[in-house]
Every structure is written in C-alpha cells, then in structure tokens.
C-alpha cells in the first residue's frame, strides 16, 4: 500500500529536553492511525510538526511523497484547543478557513450540518461550549475535502452522542479513502476506529503496529472457540493439534493460542476432520489498553 506520510528520524528539542526523538514511521494511504502516549510523551509535538506549525530540530517528513508542505485543503487539522475568533459567528469563522481552502459558503453549510452545528451557524463562537468548539474545529478541518485529517484529542469535551457521531464520521471518511491520524486518551475509541497504532513514550515511538493483523509471519494468534461438543471434549481434542501453543477453558468458551500458519481455516479443518463442527470462532487480540500499558510502563 502506498504511504501518504513518511517521517524519518523526526526529533524536537525544547531547551535541554528532547520532546521527540528520532520518530520514523510510514502511514499508509486510507489508514486510521491512532497516536497514543501518556501526557508529555510527544504526541502533540509530533502532530504539530506534521501540520507545519512546529519546526523539527532534526529529521524530516514528507506528505504525499513530496515535501513537508501541503496545499490548502489537502490536510485538515485540529491541534490542542480549538482556535476561533470569539466575536465571529460559527459561519464567519468557517468562512475564514473557506477562503484559505477555496471552499464556498455551501460547503461551509455542509460541514456545519455534518458536525451538528447548523442550528447555531449564526451564534458567536465565544458562546460555544468546549464540545461545540471541538465540533466547529472538526468542521473547519473537514472543509476542502481533505485527503488527510490530523486530529489531536478531538474527543475532548464532546458528549457521548458526539463521540458516537465522530466515530462514525471517521469510519465513513476512512471508507472514502481519507487517511486519519488521531490522538486520544480514550483507548476504547482508538481501538474502535483505528487500523494502525503508534505508541509514544518520553518522545520515542515505542510501538507501531497494525491492529487486526493476523498475517504477520511467526506471530501467535488467539481465538475464542465453541463447538457442537462440550468444552472439555473440545479442549481434549485440541491438544492433538500440532499448531496449538496453549488452550484454556474460560466460562463457555475455549481460548486457544496457535502458532501461524495454523490459522482459522486450518483450525476449522482440523476439528471438522475430527467430527467436530465449530459454532463460534472469534479471533482475539490483545486490547489496545493492554498494549498501551505494556509499552508505556
């Protein structure tokens, strides 16, 4: 898959402190990259560099296989707190972005509707709650039909309904081919929308992984299974399978850890040949939370 963003040893030093150290990663086109890390781990610095408002001390990056610059409308971004002129209405604030991105008023109305603020288009942004400002910031980022969205903590201050809408919006945009880079402390939301994960700790990229990836050679894969026989019998039968690493009964299911190439098809075939028909086969992956704790401790 082609990469929409490549970073090479990106580093940023503030005084004597390295906020970011030699971060190299490639972001595939159309992916949804979750950027995780504890406070002060360098997430915002990283995203700020990508958006062109922070200069890297060392290293470089390129958008669209070109340079560090992007054209107006190509990349939409939210970084830290939403930025608006409080005395201007939501529509006027959007129009300012629209001028930069060569978008028209109809598009401003469309994005206001998309982020659920069409009913307050003529209200001053200064009167908005934090959640409404976040929605407006997202609307501003969506103007110009960007190829990439860079969203730093976009869920801050947003109510559960808004989070649900934002999650669906991100999923829909990803389906349309928009690449999304999103940082958040809400790990569950990251897990629900992201295809890739980058975990930062003390300015370093400590993990870059593909979520739902069971094809990596040499990796172990875990499944939750149930069949037309008792769990105890299933457990006993599974012990004969050469790819089995470990199996344990958990309530009504058997959790098995298998070595590739013993994948789901191989497992199903093996049990079928033993006269057992599977009625439940779900791949298990380590939750983002577990991964996050492991990598950042």
């Amino acid at each position: 898959m082609e990469n929409i963003l490549q970073t090479d040893a990106l580093s940023k030093k503030y005084g004597n402190i390295w906020a970011l150290q030699k971060v190299s990663l490639n972001v595939p086109t159309g992916s949804v990259l979750g950027v995780l890390g504890p406070n002060g781990s360098g997430k915002t610095t990283f995203l700020g560099i990508l958006l062109g408002i922070i200069h890297p001390t060392e290293g470089n990056f390129s958008w669209f296989n070109g340079g560090e610059k992007f054209l107006p409308g190509e990349v939409g971004g939210i970084l830290e707190a939403p930025i608006f002129l409080p005395k201007l209405t939501a529509m006027q604030n959007l129009k300012m972005s629209a001028v930069i991105k060569n978008a028209d008023e109809a598009e401003c109305r469309r994005v206001l509707q998309q982020v659920g603020l069409d009913h307050v288009a003529d209200v001053n942004a200064g009167n908005f709650s934090l959640g409404m400002k976040q929605r407006l910031a997202l609307g501003s980022a969506l103007l110009g039909n960007p190829k990439v969205l860079v969203l730093d903590e976009p869920l801050n201050g947003i109510d559960p309904e808004g989070i649900f809408e934002l999650r669906n919006l991100i999923k829909r945009l990803a389906l349309e081919g928009v690449t999304v880079i999103i940082s958040s402390h809400i790990l569950d939301e990251i897990e629900k929308v992201c295809t890739h994960l980058a975990i930062f700790k003390k300015g370093q990229l400590v993990d870059f992984s593909v979520l739902n990836d069971t094809e990596k050679s040499g990796d172990a894969v875990r499944y939750q299974v149930a069949a037309n026989v008792s769990i105890a019998d299933l457990h006993k039968t599974m012990k004969d399978w050469p790819f089995l690493i470990h199996a344990e009964i958990q309530e009504d299911f058997l959790h098995v850890e298998v070595q590739l190439p013993g994948d789901a098809v191989a497992l199903n075939t093996f049990l079928f040949n033993k006269g057992i028909v599977l009625k439940h086969l779900v791949p298990l992956r380590d939750g983002v939370e577990k991964l996050f704790i492991e990598k950042t401790r």
Binding site: G48, L51, G52, I53, I54, H55, K69, F70, L71, P72, G73, E74, V75, G76, G77, L79, I83, F84, L85, P86, K87, L88, Q92, K95, M96, S97, V99, I100, K101, S140
Partner: protein, 262 residues
Amino acid sequence: MQKILSIEGIKLRGYPIFPILLLVNVFFYVVVAMNFSKWVTIPDQQDFNVDGFGLFNPGFILETLSFLAGIFKYFSVIVLLLYVALDFRYKMHRRQVMEGMSRLESFSGKWMTTAIFVVFHIALIYFLSVVLLTHTNVVLERVNREFWYYPLLWGIEFLVLFSLGFLLVQLTRKSGLSVVLLLLYAFIVEPILGLSIKSLKPFLPISSSRNLVTFPLQDNVQVLLNIEEFIGNFPLQAFLVSLISIAVFVGVSWRLFVKSDL
C-alpha cells in the same frame, strides 16, 4: 493577495474594538487639525502671503498637518499594534498555517493591513489639507508644492515606529507589554542613548524618523527672516536611516516568525 485581504477583512469583524479605535484616531486628526488652524492662523489670512508667517498658510499646510500627524502617530501605532497582537492572542497564525497558508502569506497579511492603514492616513492628511485650504478660501495653486512629500515622509515616520512595535510583538507576543516597551524605548532609552553618545543620535531610528517632518515654524522663521530661501530641504540622511531601520525591523521580525513555532 486578494485572498489574504479577504481573510484580514473577516478577522477585522472579529475585533470590534479596532474600528472604534480607528474612528477615534481619525477623529483626533480631524478635530485637532481643524481647531489648531483656528488657534494659530493669523486673522487676515484672506489676503495672505505665501511667504508669510503662519502654520496654516497654504505654503506650509502639508508640513504642518504631517507634523501634527507625527504627534498623533503614537496613538495610531498603538491601535494597529493591538490588532497585530490579537493574531497572536487568538493563535490566528497557527490556524492559518495549519490550514495550508504559507508563513509568508500569514506574515504579509498584517503588513498589507498596515499598508492600507498608512495609505489611508496619508490620504487623510492630504484631504484635511484640501479641506482647510477650501475653508480659508485659498486657491490650491498657491500651496507650496515643494512640500508635497511631507505626508509621505510622515508615512515613513509612522512605519519606523510601527515596525519596531511589530518586532516587539513578535518577541513578546503580548500587546500591552509590546506597547510599554515601545514607549519606553522611544521616550527614555533612545533619548538617553542620543544624549550619551551624540555621534550616534543621527543613526538612531526614532530620532531619525522624527527629523523627517520638522517642526513647521522652523521653516517659517527661516523664510520670514530671509535666513535662507526655503525650497524644501529633503532630509536625506534621516530618510535613509529610517528606511534602513524599517528594513532591519521587518527583516528581523520575519526571521523570528519563520524560525519560531506557532
């Protein structure tokens, strides 16, 4: 350029205090010019002599109004600096660059507004001159054309002070602090420097810019006493020092803007 001006236009609507201060500023110019002319013009000006004594004699009116504008430039500069600093307060540069504007476009937006502000004020000085001349039933042809450039020199004088203020805003990113520092420099630091090192004085930015539009009576007296025939001695050194000062202040501001994180 049109795009940048459109954005600045929208932003101005978000700073309602700016047009109010601008109106107050213009009001100062108009009221002072109108009333000052009553105070100092000799009563029998109807039959005036171009070479006669009087600040608002047509021959000197452009110089006089430019000089008065020079006194009020501090207020004008503060009004404009407040507008510039608001972009830092509301992180407008950050937003504009994030949305794809280049830093040059974001930086030049403020200077385009400044240029319009200065041109507007220069036009105001010319306009007020015409109004005053019309008011005193004087034919325009009798205006001393050698003085045509004084409002333009006022523009340079204004830009020296403003560009220094702009640099201070870049450094501090705070409007109040920048204004205080600017006034401290203009009224305390530079005069002390000028007194301490006399040879340095002609090369100090604010002092030089003050020499661009001289006190009008100085010329009047020279003409009156026939000390010399006044033909508009162009203040070349002050002009050059002022231009260089503007270039340095803008250059350093640009450098800071490009190199710093937004």
